[in-house]
């Protein structure tokens, strides 16, 4: 096997919102940077985001980044790191202006400012009423953002390696990360990308579940690569189930619909959220709304079709004009995938896997953190992670809607600034020997040489089913113990599965197999972490431990590829405001 080497100061793996924010900053700083993406940049999953980006601009009413911070801390069920949350909320307005200046086509208020809508869990004055804080380009904000970032990277002449799939990290004898090995999907070329700094921006892994709002490409490759390189993932038990996905196919219906005044009804026509969250009602946090819906199902108040329970999202009362101007994409999706026109009829919806709060642990500069034998934080030199693949941790146990796009922008830029600075201070380039490079190609070799074995598609289906059944909205020890066993068994079966297509040119079967390796790693650590955390917090809802337990569990959970678990303290030390102490979380 011939292996080419390409050398850069910095390589960014991933060209979604996070990757392209960082690359834009780096390219404009004149650094020698390359971006690898397994799909063309504008095909990245950020393109699907609908509702918007949170920032306390105060365009609709008085607003304050501290209120945004409070909401985010509370939304995270106090598992978010308060230094990171402070940094994000404080920098949010500036980030909005920055992307507006480079062309972001935001919707506008009558006086020409960026238009903002209401979203779940966002309040004014520390919980006093709904905040209109989410900056939107109608309901296609992710598309507008991703294209704006791509356009400006074209302008900055960023060096893209499109349709290159990163296989694994390369480390040298001293354990330095020297880059990645990757395969060019179109030709089968294999190359070692040698860099002083490697930045992961590989996005989420929602495809570990059977029903998800996530794109087909959200396979957790960054987490798989990090885990195999001996780096843990943090709070990976925290998976957000979005209350409103279209049953079956899982297409998302944005929370912005409820922000505009839409609401949920059960089969008796009752607006049931009034019972679960008397103040915030349909705009309570996502974990709260998803659990409420699941409880309605249990009480027999759901609709049912093809074995799937659902409730309905009513918005016809908003009127055709509001729907067409603020929610045109939702109307299109509802017509295509749910066969209803929301101007007349409610949309069937059900809680659907949506977002991975956990990820590769980092500080607010995006630097990856691992933990020593003595449980001390250790920065992994030359390695950064940003966006959904990272856990910085601003979302803690539950992400507020419209805080993820913000996370991509703020930490995409902060990582860019930090990395650029490190390069300017003469960070050395570490090399790797041929053996070290080959060691990172073992997985590919395995798939290329196993002649007989099980069909990997069956293993994927079984994994997704297990995750859905045993690690969904509600979790119990009894089922999870079984679930972990099943995942462990599937994981070892996968090591012997076989690929029949050995061609070089655009071999997508091989990519799917490599992706499944990553999905399986994420599913495995998720199952272990879910079982380990013996409390209910945010999205992690244990029937056998129904309460939050701050005494024992107000801490980050780190899980390694071998299933080993360690803990880290949650940061409670913002620099400019007093910390928000944990209190009971009601909406």
């Amino acid at each position: 096997m011939k292996i080419n080497t390409y050398t850069f100061d910095i390589i960014v793996i991933g060209a979604g919102g996070a990757g392209m924010t960082t690359s834009l900053y780096l390219a404009n700083s004149g650094l020698n940077v390359a971006v690898l993406s397994k799909v063309y940049p504008m095909r990245s999953h950020t393109v699907s985001a609908q509702g918007g980006i949170a920032a306390a601009l105060g365009n609709m009413h008085e607003d304050d980044w501290r209120w945004h911070m409070y909401d985010t801390v509370k939304g995270s069920d106090y598992l978010g790191d308060q230094d990171s949350i402070e940094y994000m909320c404080q920098n949010a307005p500036e980030m909005m202006y920055e992307i507006e200046h480079i062309g972001m086509p935001f919707s506008r208020t009558e006086n020409g400012k960026i238009w903002q809508r209401a979203f779940g869990g966002q309040t004014i004055n520390y919980g006093q009423g709904y905040a209109h804080r989410t900056c939107a380009a109608a309901d296609r904000t992710g598309h507008a953002l991703l294209h704006t970032l791509y356009q400006n990277n074209v302008k900055a002449k960023t060096h893209f390696f499109n349709e290159w799939f990163s296989i694994d990290l390369v480390r040298n004898a001293k354990k330095n990360i020297t880059g990645v090995v990757a395969i060019h999907i179109a030709t089968g070329e294999i190359a070692f990308f040698n860099a002083k700094i490697t930045i992961f921006a590989t996005g989420g892994a929602g495809r570990i579940y059977e029903s998800t709002t996530n794109a087909l490409i959200n396979t957790g490759d960054g987490l798989g690569m990090a885990l195999r390189a001996g780096i843990p993932v943090q709070d990976i038990e925290m998976w957000q189930f979005h209350p409103t996905g279209i049953p079956g196919i899982g297409i998302l219906i944005t929370e912005g619909v409820r922000g505009e005044g839409g609401y949920l009804v059960n089969k008796n026509g009752e607006r049931f959220m009034e019972r679960y969250a008397p103040h915030a009602k349909d705009l309570a946090s996502r974990d709260v709304v998803s659990r409420a819906i699941a409880k309605e199902f249990r009480a027999g108040n759901g609709f049912k079709k093809d074995g799937i329970d659902y409730v309905k999202l009513k918005l016809d009362h908003l009127g055709e004009e509001v729907i067409n101007s603020h929610l045109p994409g939702i109307r299109e999706l509802a017509k295509t995938f749910a066969h209803v026109d929301p101007i007349k009829d409610p949309i069937p919806v059900t809680p659907t896997c949506h977002y991975m709060m956990g990820g590769i642990p980092t500080n607010k500069h995006g630097q990856v953190i691992t933990i020593s034998e003595r449980e001390e934080d250790q920065i992994v030199e030359g390695f950064y992670a940003i966006g959904e693949c990272a856990s910085v941790s601003v979302h803690g146990a539950n992400r507020l809607g419209s805080n993820s796009l913000l996370d991509l922008l703020v930490f995409g830029r902060s990582a860019g600034m930090h990395a650029a600075d490190a390069i300017k201070h003469d960070l050395p380039l570490h090399h790797s020997s041929e053996e070290e490079i080959k060691a990172a190609l073992i997985r590919l070799e395995r798939w290329n040489t196993t002649d007989k074995g099980e069909d990997y598609n069956e293993i994927r289906h079984a994994m997704q089913k297990t995750m859905q059944e045993d690690f969904g909205v509600f979790r119990t020890e009894k089922y999870m113990v079984e679930g972990v066993k099943k995942i462990e068994e599937l994981r070892s079966r996968l090591e012997h599965a076989a690929l029949t297509d050995r061609s070089q040119i655009f071999n997508t079967a091989r990519i799917q197999a490599l992706e499944l390796d990553n999905l399986m790693e994420v599913a495995y650590v998720t199952s272990i972490a879910c079982l380990a955390r013996q409390e209910s917090r945010g999205a992690h809802s244990r029937e056998d431990y129904p309460d939050r337990d701050d005494k024992n569990w107000l801490k980050h959970l780190l899980c390694f590829a071998n299933g080993k678990i360690k803990y880290r303290a949650v940061n409670m030390k913002p620099t400019t405001v007093k910390p928000f102490e944990p209190t009971k979380r009601v909406y």
Binding site: V39, Y40, M42, R43, S44, H45, V47, S48, L57, M96, Y97, E100, H101, I102, G103, P105, F106, S107, R108, T109, E110, N111, G112, K113, I114, A137, R140, G142, H143, A144, H147, Q151, N152, V154, K155, A186, A215, L216, I217, I249, I251, G329, E332, L333, T336, F337, H339, D455, N457, L499, T500, D501, S503, Q504, I505, F506, N507, T508, A509, Q512
Partner: protein, 232 residues
């Protein structure tokens, strides 16, 4: 239901051929073509195609289905007459099976300088834009770069290098129409040669096939109007 799919793997096949697949599809099913392709791939993993968002926003899976360019993920099988014949986007170089080469398509896109240009001093907060000004770029910002239009445009077949094609021109017009962009004159000047814009024969194929219901042909008419205004 029968699917007849264009197959070509340059490593193994001397020339392209059509291959038939049978897929079980319940009569009341609302399955999309993409879901059927994914099922076929589980049986025959050598079939290559692109897909990502599976909801019509990423632009990965443009292909020619029963004679028209469309997205596999938003085309309901029930809307098609069997057998379903699937080919790669017409007139684009095939890499393998349904996967085509986008190099020229993106080159044409980059030719129009598809990014906001504004050399005025940057304000402290946002640049103001009224809702009416903003409405002028509705329908122009929603392009997903799927190439369904350009691949179906006869003028692009005849002048693939010189004529920018409907997608690129839609983007050109998007920035011309943005009240925040100050490079309109330069943008128009760059398009003034006899080919870049003027090869459009208003055949409307682009508008007919656009899966996002956008109207590149109206955008091209808009560019011509702007040129005429400038000239007069």
């Amino acid at each position: 239901m029968r699917f007849s799919i264009y197959r070509y793997n340059p490593e193994a096949d001397k020339k392209p051929y059509m291959k038939d697949y049978e897929v079980d599809i319940p009569s009341d099913s609302d399955m999309m073509v993409l879901e059927a392709l994914l099922k076929i791939k589980e049986k025959d993993e050598t079939l290559a195609f692109r897909a990502s968002c599976r909801e019509g926003v990423c632009g990965s899976d443009g292909m020619n289905i029963n004679g028209l360019n469309r997205l596999a993920c938003t085309t309901a099988i029930s809307s098609l007459k069997p057998p379903i014949v699937i080919r790669p986007l017409v007139n684009m170089p095939v890499i393998r099976d349904l996967v085509v080469d986008f190099t020229l398509f993106f080159k044409q896109y980059e030719r129009v300088q598809p990014y906001l240009q504004n050399n005025d001093e940057t304000p402290q907060t946002e640049r103001l834009q009224s809702p009416q000004e903003r409405a002028k770029i509705d329908g122009l910002i929603d392009c997903i770069l799927c190439a369904c239009c350009t691949s179906f445009c006869p003028s692009s077949w005849w002048n693939p290098e010189k004529f920018i094609g409907p997608a690129g021109l839609l983007w050109a017009y998007r920035f011309i129409q943005d009240s925040r962009d100050t490079a309109t004159d330069e943008r128009l000047a760059n398009l003034e040669d006899p080919f870049s814009v003027f090869r459009c024969r208003t055949i409307m194929n682009c508008t007919v096939v656009c899966p996002k219901n956008l109207n590149p042909s109206a955008a091209i008419a808009g560019i011509r109007r702007k040129m005429a205004e400038k000239g007069s």
